[in-house]
Structure formats: structure tokens, C-alpha cells
Symmetry: C2
């Protein structure tokens, strides 16, 4: 029988609690409370705190993965896929993502969990390399290109966190790609 509180609802709770407490300070008790279930039930359903985070991350960050398996001829289109993904990610989950990235440096658990979304990055690298080889992008380490592309989105999310008053409009992925290509098409 399905559970009264859905898995996704629990995932939302985890991410929310982690967003304001950080992973290590987020007690399983607090997570359970936020999800409206008993702590024991939490463990019965998700085994461990780390596994719970893993499933939440998988479901929310990795789940709706990009259609990048076969990069095509159109640089702009492929980059747009990437930017749209990260724009949406930071738009909806910016808080947790930044928090987890910070904590990954110190907490082996968090680092382990983030290994999975990191694998996404390798896919992205391949796409960038593909277009570099086709002569559509300046040649540099793909990860650099990636940061140049997505960095502005991260910064926006970061700035919003530091400076609340800025009611910034959500980033327009098409504009981001356009601006980026202006600077990264080989002359």
C-alpha cells in the first residue's frame, strides 16, 4: 500500500530543511517533522539519512535529465538545453544546490551523493567538446566553457541570497546562450 505521505513530499521536506539548516545540522527528527511523518517511518522507508538525500537529489536534480545523449548540429540548440536545465534547477532549487555544494567540500556523505549529478557534468563536457571539434566554439577546457555559460545563473542565485531586496527577473535562457555565443564563437 502506498504511503499517505508521498516520497516526493518527503523529498521536498528534506530539501527544504537542508536549504535552511545545511545537511549536517538537519536532524532526521527535524526532517521527519517537516514531512509530517514519524522519524522511524523515515528510516523504514529510506534506510538512512544519506540515502534519503541521495534519492531526493536523484529525483529532483538528476531525474529530469537532459536530452543530450546525441548532440546535434545546432550549437545554440544544445547549449539552450543545458542552460534551460540549470536555469530551472537554480530557479527552483538554488538554495539547496548552493548549500550542498558548500557542504560537499567538508562532508564525505554529501560529496558522495553529489557524485551522481556530477556525472551529468561529464555529459555536458562531451557536448561542448563535440561542438568545439565541429569548430563552433572556441577551444578551452570544457569545464571552463561550462562555467562561463552557467556561472551567471549561479551568481544570480547567489546574489539573490545575499541581497534579498533584489527581485530579479528569472534568467532568460535564450538570452544567456546568445550573449555567451557572442563571446565564445571562434573569430
Amino acid at each position: 500500500m502506498a504511503s499517505r505521505v508521498t516520497d516526493q513530499a518527503v523529498y521536498d521536506a528534506v530539501l527544504k530543511v537542508i536549504a535552511d539548516q545545511g545537511y549536517e545540522r538537519a536532524t532526521t527528527r527535524a526532517i521527519a517533522d517537516a514531512a509530517g511523518i514519524n522519524e522511524v517511518t523515515l528510516f523504514r522507508r529510506f534506510t538512512s539519512k544519506e540515502n534519503l538525500l541521495r534519492q531526493a537529489v536523484r529525483s529532483n536534480f538528476v531525474g529530469f535529465a537532459l536530452d543530450l545523449d546525441a548532440p546535434g548540429d545546432d550549437v545554440a540548440a544544445d547549449l539552450l538545453t543545458i542552460v534551460s536545465y540549470y536555469a530551472r534547477l537554480y530557479e527552483t532549487r538554488g538554495g539547496v544546490v548552493l548549500t550542498l555544494m558548500r557542504e560537499a567540500k567538508f562532508s564525505p556523505d554529501v560529496a558522495a551523493v553529489l557524485a551522481e549529478p556530477e556525472a551529468l557534468l561529464e555529459k555536458v563536457d562531451e557536448v561542448i567538446l563535440h561542438h568545439q571539434r565541429r569548430g563552433a566554439l572556441v577551444t578551452e577546457p570544457p569545464r571552463h566553457t561550462f562555467f562561463a555559460l552557467v556561472g551567471p545563473l549561479m551568481m544570480r542565485s547567489f546574489a539573490r541570497r545575499v541581497d534579498q531586496r533584489a527581485t530579479q527577473a528569472p534568467a532568460d535562457p535564450e538570452a544567456v546562450v546568445r550573449r555567451f555565443l557572442d563571446g565564445h564563437r571562434p573569430g
Copy 2:
């Protein structure tokens, strides 16, 4: 009788350990080991972990405070004092500073300790306000002006952390102030 291991040596150890582990994961045991003293001695001399951090921060960040009590007529000179202070801070302690700033959001202890250096910021605000009133700077919330001034230094420190390979030259405070004033002198 003075202690064989000086207070400053212990402070260095704390800041170093916190820089790579973060405050919460930095056990007093690890700190004592890094300082080359017994954990018990640590407590006998510094009372508590939080107090130890406080004294380390006080000694390293607040101790050599700025000569800003009486802002003068020369905007450039006063801003240079500020920038030089933060340039040196990030140059020598960038790692810990960023780590502590991150953790302050989650850990009340860290937040409490950082309240003291925060007070420095109020002094800075006053100086900026002073020069705004004298018509030497564009009018905006002083904290914004501060971030515009010091932000680049923080970003440089942050970037160095993310992207190791960049052997960036240390920031030149005079250049920073010059560039800043170009954009913030009222037209």
C-alpha cells in the same frame, strides 16, 4: 609562566583546521593536534571551542583594525585604508573567512563570533556615509557601496578556491580604489 606554544600559534592552527574542515567538523582534538598541544590544555587556556574561535578571530581579523575613527577629506585615502585591510584579510585568510561566512548562516556559534568583525562593517558604513554627504560618492545604501568596493576581492578569493590553476596576482588596492571611484563619483 608563558606557555611553550604561543596563543598565536594556536590561533593559526584553529584557522587552518577550520579552513579545511569547517567549524563544526573541526574537532577540538584535531585543533589541539594541529597546534601540537594536548586537548585538555586547549580547554584550560581557552575555555571553550567557541571562545577559542572568538579569540582567534579577534586576534587575526579585528585586532589590526582600521584607522577609520576619524574619516578625513580625502575619499581615495579612506577607501584605500578599507581596501587594503580587506585585501590583506582575503590574501592571508581568505579560506577561513569564506568558510566562516558560509557556516555563520547555519551555526549560531559562528554567527555569534562573527558579530564582532561585523561591527567593523558599521564603521566602514560611517566612513562611506561621511563621504557621500561631502558629495564625493554617489548616494546609495553604504553596504552596497562597500560590496561594490570589496566584492571583487572576495570574488578573486572565491575564484582561486574554485579554480586552482589560476595563479592570480594579489590585488593592487590602489588600482581597485581607482577603478571603483571611476564608477562611483557623482557625475
